[in-house]
């Protein structure tokens, strides 16, 4: 070959290899963390992004009992009817997210970070996998959000 004479170059494998390499680099797989809860009881209607609650992050810091026994969180996605008023009063998330144990509620975008239109569900749950169709944000329908930027997809 032109560039290096003592190398026998297998172009078919080279092309395949480069294509495979590029494919794995370019196509970023989208699969989210097991047990993340998307809560969209009131958020969309209020012009906010839905809340994403990461179980994994909280489990590293607290045992289940802290939230599900002491703070009264029900074992049901969307079943707690959490509102910002309750949080500011120190209930539910507000028991820790008060600037003492964890950061305070002025960091709106760290919880309200879901894609608008995503329904309330637990990501990767068995019920979701076996029975209901895969959840996708309803991006086709424009959300009534004058200040929020529309999602990319």
């Amino acid at each position: 070959m032109m560039s290096c004479n003592n190398y026998k170059f297998n172009w078919r494998f080279a092309i395949l290899g480069v294509m495979a390499g590029l494919a794995t680099m370019v196509v970023s797989p989208a699969q989210a963390e097991y047990a993340d809860v998307i809560i969209n009881n009131y958020a969309d209607a209020a012009g906010m992004r839905p809340v994403v609650f990461p179980h994994w992050f909280h489990r590293i810091r607290f045992r289940c009992k802290v939230c599900h026994a002491d703070l009264g969180f029900q074992f049901k996605a969307g079943g707690n009817k959490i509102t910002m008023a309750k949080i500011i009063e120190g209930k539910f998330c507000g028991a820790c997210h008060n600037g003492e144990i964890s950061w305070s509620v002025e960091n709106c975008n760290m919880c309200h970070s879901g894609i608008p239109g995503t329904p309330t569900h637990i990501h990767g749950s068995t019920v979701q996998r076996l029975i209901s169709p895969p959840y996708k944000a309803l991006n086709a329908q424009p959300q009534p959000q004058p200040q929020q930027p529309q999602p990319a997809k």
């Binding site: 092309i15 289940c64 002491d70 144990i101 975008n109």
Partner: protein
């Protein structure tokens, strides 16, 4: 013409390979005589023939199970806060792994002292009341019997989380079946949602006690009434 194209392509890629070792790491094969320098993409020879003959053609493709928030599919990448959030992989470094769920063995992490989640939200020194009691539940079907370990559950949960609302603390008082669990009742209140998922890989985590040696499957009513002759 086709031969010229091949030569050109080969030359171009050859040049790239010599120029940047990073690109050769992407998986191109360079041979010197019979000696193969890189074998990273040898499995591609299957796809070289026909992708119709590959194994697990219709299975879901391997995906990154712990994608960072901006790429996970439900966090909004246009939201500033999304990019402040921690990526799961960052947090999971050094924790024992599994092949399902979060791909972290949470109970093992506790047992090995890799994690120390608080039992009380204010007091980091408070310890859980751990009850080491296994409950064996015989199963009608031919799958192994279920052993329910209280220890792993009381490490994380308070008694009142399950008793008496989900499970009546009395022998024989709880009818449990897989349909109810898959629909989110009984064990399915947590398992299949936040604790380990319900899949073929995880059957034996609960169904762990082999049947007694003299066990035979119970005959159905139909075959008792009309035995096969």
């Amino acid at each position: 013409m086709s031969q010229q194209l091949r030569t050109l392509l080969g030359a171009f890629l050859g040049g790239l390979l010599v120029a940047t070792p990073a690109i050769s790491a992407l998986g191109a094969v360079v041979e010197r005589g019979n000696e193969v320098i890189s074998q990273a993409e040898l499995p591609l020879m299957v796809a070289d023939v026909s992708s119709a003959n590959t194994f697990n053609r219709n299975l879901k493709k391997e995906k990154d199970p712990n994608a960072p928030p901006p790429e996970d599919g439900y966090h909004d990448p246009e939201n500033e806060g999304t990019h402040v959030l921690q990526a799961p992989k960052e947090a999971y470094v050094g924790l024992p792994t599994t092949d399902f769920g979060n791909h972290v063995d949470w109970v093992k992490s506790l047992d090995e002292g890799k994690l120390a989640p608080r039992w009380d939200r204010f007091d980091p020194t408070e310890e859980p009341f751990v009850m080491d009691l296994d409950i064996v539940r015989p199963v009608k079907a031919s799958v192994p019997d279920v052993v329910f370990p209280h220890r792993q559950h009381t490490l994380w949960l308070a008694c009142a989380n399950c008793h008496p609302a989900i499970f009546i603390p009395q022998k024989g008082a709880n009818q449990i079946n897989m349909s109810a669990i898959l629909l989110g009742q009984k064990c399915g209140v947590c398992h299949g949602k936040v604790s380990f998922p319900i899949m073929t890989l995880t059957c034996r985590k609960c169904h762990s006690k082999p049947k007694p040696a003299d066990w035979t499957p119970p005959l159905s009513e139909a075959s008792l009434k009309n035995p096969w002759k």
